[in-house]
Amino acid sequence: MDKHSSFAISNPHKVTLDNIQKLGLWLGISGLLILVLATLNVHLEPKNIFVLVSIGFILIGTTVYARRTYLKQPSGIKNNHVWFKSLTNRSVLGWSVGIILTLFYVLLYWFPKFLGLGINGEPNSGLIVMFDSISMFFKEQPASQWFVYGTLYTLAILALGIKFMYKYRHNQYQLIRTTVVIISQLFLAYLIPEILEGLNSETPYFAKDIKNMWPLNYYFFESWHLDNMLNGGTLGMFYLVVGIFMFLVFTPIITYFVGKRWYCSWICGCGGLAETAGDPFRHLSSKKLSAWKLERWLIHSVMVFIFIVTVVVLYGYFTGSGEFLGLSIYNYFSKPYGFLIGAMFSGVIGVGFYPMLGNRVWCRFGCPLAGYMGIIQRFKSRFRITTNGGQCISCGNCSTYCEQGIDVRAYAQKGENIVRASCVGCGICSAVCPRGVLKLENGPEKGRINPTDVLLGNDVDLMNLVNNKTSKF
């Protein structure tokens, strides 16, 4: 990159907050502070009150702040100063948040005792004990680190989803999509699974987030999980059947009709976090061709990897053997996948690196389910982003704000529709386009891909002459 290509600009944005914004901010920060203090083992009693106050403050604070901030301004695209702000231009604040998030994930996955998880029958302490009361409420057992994570995750989607809806309040697609994202997380991923677990506390654990299907849920076919489902009574059998049906039948059919967006940016939890908490970082994804090459290589490798792991694991399950071709199935297959992909990739890098690499690193480079749906979307689907004739002015807003790093402009400026495996259909490219060039829509497959050399607006003879050489559209 040549060094003249970007202006050295300090933040020209004078942060002037009014009292309501300050109130919101302080509420939110106080709520967070309670959790930080708890993590540092400060005694806060009574815990059940403190944790509810913390959650309430975060939720109300964010809402008050966002509502005030965005309703003060006219509705429309709100990207002023994005590249000047320390949080969102990979400067100090961005790095700090990235490091803290990454650290949190490292503790969560590998050192939960530092978050206060009671080991060997000891009671919880620190952050985790704060959530005991909520966990007891749902399932009469103390909180695990995963319960705390799930609660905070849901809180993030809820609070920042509300913020997102104020920000895009002029855009009906975004409003409806985000409502669904929030509801899916709150109910399908959080409340219903926790309640079901409470109701079935005798049966062994199996994943009850019905939309978290294989291969995103990589342990679905592992022996312990299969056994637990089989031993899980009617509910277990139901989850087993639905889990397979979702992947094999439901997903391809829906993806054919509306593209993979129904999952990736409407109901998925990873996508949900990316769309809400990750929204301020969407412009940080790399649009380089080299990144696209890496993406195709990586995501398909992960797909192959999970496929092999699953086949091997199932082989082990049905033969009753712990080995495959002389290799320990656990040590050589399930464990590395869980560590490398499940924890490192989707957690630590996927979320921890939001402020450096953008909000969809996992969805773009790693997620095998996204890879699977992507193939359907690219080759057998009615979904496309239509380019509006010759209206594109090559401004680059669409490419800049595409979280999946798709160079949308490269297609739009040629008058071509965008049909790409990785598009999650978030609709932001269409929202930010200042010329109304892009529309996400589902239509007939015929004419979905329309290679053009000469654009609409030009002499009809020339268009026919040139374009008919390349296409029969």
Partner: protein
Amino acid sequence: MEHIVIIGNGISGVTAARHIRKLSDKKITIISAETDYFFSRTALMYVYMGHMKFEHTQPYENWFWKKNRIELKKGYVTRVDTKQKTLHFINNDTLQYDKLIIATGSKPNKFGWPGQDLDGVMGMYHKQDLESLEKFAPNNNVCKRAVIVGGGLIGIELAEMLHSRHIPVTFLVRESSFWNKVLPKQESEMINKEIISNGIDLRLGVNLKEIKPDENGKVKSIVIAETGEEIPCNVVGLTAGVSPNIDFIKDSEIETNHGVKVNRYLETNIPDVYAIGDCAEQHEAIGNRRPIEAVWYTGRMMGETVAQTICKNRIPYKPGHWFNSAKFFDIEYQTYGWIWAEPKENEARFYWQHESEKKCIHISFDKNTKEFIGINCLGIRMRHEYFDKALTEKRTVNYVLEHLADANFDPEFYKLHEPEIVAKFNNEHGTNIHLKKKSWKRIFNLTN
């Protein structure tokens, strides 16, 4: 190998180069004094506003040029010697060409106002203008107020830019309503409101008299001609239109008027010399178009056309139906066909405006034949292909309204106003048009 040299790395020059490369193996060189690489001028505002970094305005990655064997040369051409087929550069460099394409774009108009060259006075066209804006108006401490002179598309963009940095803006517009030489009254008024509601000090019907300097030769204030009012300011933006950037060929043998004179094949009076984009002037205007068309789309179309001609498929420049778009603060604007500020003799008009939101459409059609002539849309997106086809097929306004659902291009789930629009038309014109459901078949031309 034939050497094609293109002066100007804007949309027209770059489109020509890309298409020549597609069609041939010729040697291609693009010259520019402005930047190393092609960037989108229309996106400059977003850099200042912090939506994008400058590198994001570049539609092609830097390796693109080498890979496509398009040579880039940075330098300012001072003279064209058409006899020797040689370009002379400001640093005394020279370059030989076999065929020359002049694609040097525009420069901001200056009308000889006193003080127009002071520090802090700038146009908003080149990357250098952006740099100087960054210097003189980085924030509202350095720039306490800015005055913009000239109410066109670039003027309103500059107002939005400065506004994004909380700099108070006074906007001097000569006309009695914003851009009302192009926009009909209703649209123009909606934009006036939008400007004012964003806190811009909009002054309609006024002209600039002079710009006054402080003791350091920097802008201190401006004076309004009509009222004599003096407005203190630190930056003056001159956005009273643009004109072709062709001073360096004025004393060559290439014929010029306002722009470089070209025929329909985009050829100048000198063999092997062509001109395209903002700087080209047609001998005779094409249809209702102006002889000089300083817009992005036409630059691109001329680039596509001249590439054919240069690669042995000599064809005339035949732009299709007029279209354009812009964004006025938060209001998007699209237009298809012609809808003049004032209706012509044979025209009737239909106007619909949303009761509370900033949305309207304005349709022009022939009084007698009912043939559809053009549409303006504010706050509603419409499908280019739909109107292009309707114009080609000379459809009536009734047909256009009947199939308006096909035309809508707003994102999914947006409220559709078509029923209301059609009802209003029926009411005003005593017609009985029934809105048809959106049909993919029609949209995709699968049937009629």
